[in-house]
Each structure stands twice: as structure tokens, then as C-alpha cells.
């Protein structure tokens, strides 16, 4: 790999801020993000770590283009980011697979509006089923597979149209510790193989240090970058390597230190917790009196 390729700027965030109108906050405005500057090289793995409420998920939503109302500039390959686009993929914490589609069809969702032919799409889907190790489960429905497998499907869906950047919003947060560790290794293998820029948001410090080339530590009120810690260790990393432990403890100290903002703060609007809970239409709501 040439030096120029590794130094190529991919994603550039400059002075990015975001505020919500909020009745609870002082002045009726809640500053969720403030003055975020971040440059991500092509092919880099950046892990963003922070306590809940520091705006790290909001940051991903802005990069993803789900929310266009923000301050500052976000550019990808020099072009300003506007709305969602196929060059930016996402894996959410809740896998968000369509329950009425099979594994294969769910992966193909990523290709619905891509310029590929039907045959190319089929090949791409098969290729990505293999990439995440789900051969044999192509025809399964999301409710028939485990949470870890569902998250693999979500990763495949995020990767299938070859985005420039894959955003990962606490992708393993809802999984048990063993599955999480396995999928972290898996994700690292996929990243090394595909060489796609990845930005991972997590509150798991060890995960951040295990996967990231750099770890961006965020702090809340308002959400901003506290510091950026490089992780100059070769992949795949060994969790019991003393250097690994030293970096992990260094990052962890930012959250345990008595100075700075308190680690726990949940004043940010709960974004995506209860959205799946849909009311079952009750017969009483029909109001049909006989």
C-alpha cells in the first residue's frame, strides 16, 4: 500500500453541532453535539466511545444523513453529505431486519436501488451471505435465527452495496458477552478483508480498543470530543497483550476520573428504544355499538 493511499482523506467532519428544542433544558435548547472535528482516512477503523447521552449515536445519524439539520460541515471524499446515500452503510444496534423477508431477501434490501443486474445482485447476496458465515440460513426468517446471526445479516446488508463508509451504531450492544466477543473478531476479519472505512459507536471501551485504529473519546453536555487515542497495535489484537491492556486502561481512566463531566447522564431524548412497540389494534377502539 502506498503512503498516499493511506493518507487519503475520506470522511471529514468540521465544527459539527446539533441541538434539539427541549422543554427541560435551559433556554429551551439542548446542545447534543458541539464543535466536532474529525478526519477519517480511507480504510480506517475509528471507534467512538462515550457514556450514554454524549451524542455519539446522533453523530452517526448525521453522517448517515437521517438528519440534515445540523451546524458545521460533513464531507465524504470532498463532497458534502446530503440525505442518505448508498456510499454510507449502517448497522443499527437493533438489527432492523424486515421480519417478513428471509435472510437472503433482507440482505438484498441493500441492493434494491443499486444499478446491478438481477444476476449480479444474486451473486453479491450469495457472496455476502458467505462473508458473514450464514450459508445454509439463506431462507430463514429473522425470528428463526439468533440475535447474533441477525446482526450478521445486518452487517451483510450494510456491506452488500459496497459503501465507502460503514457506520456501526452499538452493533453488538444487545448481544450476550460470548456472542459479542465472537462478532468483534468476525467484524475485524471482515474489515481487514474488505478494507472499508468503518466508524463504530460503542460504550464498550474494550471493544473500541480491540477494533479501532483510533479511539475517539466523547463526553457529554454538550457532546464533544474529549480526546483521540491512537491504538498502534497490529490486527488481530490480543486482549491480554500488556500494551492492549495499557491503552484500554488509559481510555477507561477518562470515564473513571473524578474530574470532567459525570459519566452517567440521560437527558437526551430517548431515541430508539420504544419505537418497535406497536399498539395492537384493540376491538374496543372500533367503537361499533350494535
Amino acid at each position: 500500500m502506498t503512503e498516499s493511499a493511506t493518507l487519503e482523506l475520506d470522511l471529514d467532519l468540521h465544527g459539527v453541532g446539533k441541538r434539539y428544542a427541549s422543554a427541560q433544558a435551559a433556554g429551551g435548547v439542548l446542545q447534543v453535539l458541539d464543535g466536532i472535528d474529525l478526519n477519517v482516512r480511507s480504510g480506517e477503523f475509528v471507534a467512538v466511545v462515550g457514556a450514554s447521552g454524549c451524542g455519539k449515536s446522533t453523530l452517526l445519524r448525521l453522517i448517515l444523513g437521517l438528519d440534515d439539520h445540523y451546524e458545521g460541515h460533513i464531507t465524504l471524499g470532498g463532497t458534502p453529505v446530503q440525505g442518505t446515500g448508498r456510499e454510507r452503510g449502517i448497522v443499527f444496534q437493533d438489527h432492523r431486519l424486515f421480519p417478513w423477508l428471509t435472510v437472503e431477501q433482507n440482505i438484498a434490501v441493500g441492493l434494491r436501488n443499486s444499478p446491478h443486474t438481477a444476476a449480479q445482485k444474486r451473486d453479491l447476496v450469495a457472496e455476502h451471505v458467505a462473508l458473514v458465515g450464514l450459508e445454509g440460513f439463506e431462507q430463514s426468517y429473522p425470528h428463526q435465527i439468533s440475535g447474533g446471526m441477525a446482526q450478521r445479516v445486518a452487517i451483510a446488508r450494510g456491506l452488500v452495496n459496497r459503501p465507502r463508509v460503514l457506520l456501526l451504531d452499538e452493533p453488538f450492544g444487545a448481544l450476550d458477552a460470548l456472542t459479542r466477543a465472537r462478532l468483534q473478531t468476525e467484524l475485524q476479519r471482515i474489515w481487514e478483508k474488505e478494507r472499508i472505512t468503518m466508524i463504530l459507536v460503542t460504550h464498550d471501551v474494550e471493544e473500541a480498543v480491540f477494533l479501532g485504529d483510533r479511539v475517539v473519546i466523547m463526553q457529554p453536555h454538550p457532546g464533544r470530543i474529549r480526546r483521540i487515542v491512537p491504538v498502534p497495535l497490529a490486527h488481530p489484537r490480543n486482549r491480554s497483550d500488556p500494551r492492549f491492556i495499557r491503552i484500554r486502561d488509559d481510555v477507561l481512566s477518562d470515564f473513571l476520573a473524578p474530574d470532567g463531566a459525570p459519566a452517567e447522564a440521560d437527558s437526551v431524548p430517548a431515541e430508539q428504544t420504544d419505537l418497535y412497540r406497536r399498539p395492537i389494534p384493540s376491538l374496543a377502539s372500533l367503537q361499533m355499538a350494535w
Binding site: 448517515l64 437521517l66 442518505t84 446515500g85 448508498r86 454510507r88 452503510g89 449502517i90 443499527f92 437493533d94 432492523r96 424486515f98 421480519p99 417478513w100 428471509t102 434490501v109 441493500g110 434494491r112 436501488n113 426468517y141 429473522p142 425470528h143 428463526q144 430508539q272 419505537l275 418497535y276 406497536r278 399498539p279 389494534p281 376491538l283 377502539s285 372500533l286 367503537q287 361499533m288 355499538a289 350494535w290
Partner: protein, 271 residues
């Protein structure tokens, strides 16, 4: 028994199936006892036979109604009406419900009126309908359509509006057009609710068929059969008519459940 089942070489399904069958037949105990009691009572002539006819008499009437074709004519007329009203009401309901669910503008315009409209008891429409459309088939079909319309609108609209926002975001991420989003995300997500509405419409319109035939007295139908029986004090005919109404309702219910299960299986929905 469970011991025996586990010791036989893996043939456990047999006792389980047996058990399931027993449970299935248990529901028949009450009707059989009731019929036996009925038979015994009429046999003992404890009650006035004109008020409580014997099972044998009802069977004879049933045979007569079936062989002379009276039943088929009445049933045919009722079911034709039922299905016409059901199809019209459901189609209009799907369209109206979808519009109310998709368009905020339309919902603000029509929603309040519809919510007021659905509070009106169905039978309160009868006087108006009979004045506007008479007592014939048109009036009945209008009434049935109304009965089918309301549950379909309510459930379709609710189903569409409660499409999980996270899934809509996925559609947005992958650049779905509004049309793609509607047909590939909103509609599949709303299908169970829509089905509930259609299912209710089927049951409501059958109930309303009998009601319409009973209140808008003209022509043939199962409801008219009941009226005829009651007017001529033919309890055997009344009981037979009630039995037919119940049986048709039960069959519709079974059919709807079957379709629902197939649908749920098809879309791989986890319950």
C-alpha cells in the same frame, strides 16, 4: 403413561397426538349434553311442545328445507348479499384506511368526521337507509357495506400508522422511493392489522346480513326464514334457521383463521 411413552423407542408423538385429539373433542361435550337434555325434555313432554319442539321435528324441517331447495335459495340470497356488501365495504375501507394512514393532510381533513361517523350505532342507519334505498337488496347491501367498512378503515389506518419507525429509517437509508416504501415496508408491516380488519368485516357483515333481512323485510334470505318461522309459530324452522346462521358464521371464522395462519406462515411472523 409418560413413562411408557419415553421407554418406547422414540415413538413419543403417538400419545401426544392422542392427547390433542381428546382435547379437541372436549368442546363437543356441552352441545351433546344439551341436545340429549333437549331430546329428553321434549320426549317427556314436560314443556309445551309448541314452545319447545323435539329434535326430531327440527331434523324433519331441516330435511324438508334442504330437499325442497328452500334453504339453498335463502342461503344463496343471504350469502350473495353478504359477499357483495363485504367486498364493497372492504374495498372502500382499504382505500379510505390507506389514505387516512398515509396522508397527514387527508387525515386532518377526514379523520375527525370519520371518528364521529363510526360512533353512530350501525342499526341507527336503518331508518335513513330504508327511506333512501327502500327495503330491497340495494338497501341491504348499503347496510352491509357500512358494517364492513368501519373495522377495515380503523385497522388499516392503525396498521399503516404504526409501521415501526426504525424500519422506515432502513428504507430511507437504502433510498427507497415513497412508492417502494409503501409497498415493501408499510404494507407488509401493516398486513396483520389489515387482516384483522378484513376478518372483522367478514364477521360483522354476516351478522349485519341477518339484521338487515330482519329489519328490512323484503325478499328471501336466512333472516326471512327466521321471521317466517316466528310469525307462523314454527319453532322448528326458527331453531333450524339459527343453526344455519351459527354454522355459516363458524365456517367463516374457520376460513378466516386458516387464511390468517397461512398468511402468518408466509410472512414468517413470530407470534
Amino acid at each position: 403413561m409418560s413413562n411408557a411413552a419415553t421407554t418406547t423407542h422414540g415413538a413419543t408423538p403417538i400419545p401426544l397426538d392422542d392427547n390433542g385429539d381428546t382435547r379437541r373433542w372436549r368442546g363437543l361435550v356441552l352441545p351433546v349434553v344439551a341436545i340429549l337434555l333437549w331430546w329428553a325434555l321434549s320426549r317427556a313432554e314436560l314443556v309445551n311442545s309448541a314452545l319447545l319442539v323435539s329434535p326430531g321435528k327440527v331434523l324433519a324441517t331441516a330435511a324438508d328445507q334442504i330437499t325442497t331447495g328452500k334453504l339453498w335459495r335463502a342461503l344463496g340470497a343471504s350469502l350473495t348479499r353478504e359477499l357483495t356488501g363485504f367486498v364493497i365495504g372492504t374495498s372502500a375501507g382499504l382505500l379510505l384506511g390507506a389514505l387516512l394512514g398515509v396522508s397527514r393532510w387527508f387525515n386532518r381533513l377526514v379523520g375527525p368526521s370519520f371518528n364521529t361517523f363510526k360512533q353512530i350505532s350501525l342499526f341507527a342507519w336503518i331508518p335513513l337507509i330504508s327511506v333512501w334505498f327502500g327495503l330491497g337488496d340495494t338497501a341491504k347491501v348499503v347496510f352491509l357495506s357500512l358494517a364492513a367498512l368501519v373495522p377495515v378503515v380503523v385497522n388499516t389506518c392503525d396498521g399503516i400508522r404504526s409501521t415501526p419507525k426504525p424500519l422506515l429509517e432502513v428504507a430511507k437509508v437504502y433510498g427507497y422511493t415513497p412508492v417502494q416504501t409503501f409497498f415493501h415496508v408499510v404494507l407488509p408491516a401493516a398486513t396483520p392489522a389489515i387482516f384483522t380488519g378484513v376478518y372483522l368485516a367478514l364477521i360483522y357483515s354476516w351478522l349485519a346480513t341477518i339484521g338487515a333481512e330482519y329489519l328490512l323485510v323484503a325478499g328471501v334470505g336466512i333472516g326471512n326464514l327466521l321471521i317466517e318461522g316466528s310469525e307462523h309459530f314454527q319453532m322448528d324452522l326458527v331453531i333450524f334457521g339459527m343453526f344455519v346462521v351459527g354454522l355459516v358464521g363458524w365456517l367463516m371464522n374457520a376460513l378466516a383463521r386458516h387464511v390468517e395462519r397461512r398468511l402468518a406462515h408466509l410472512r414468517g411472523a413470530a407470534q
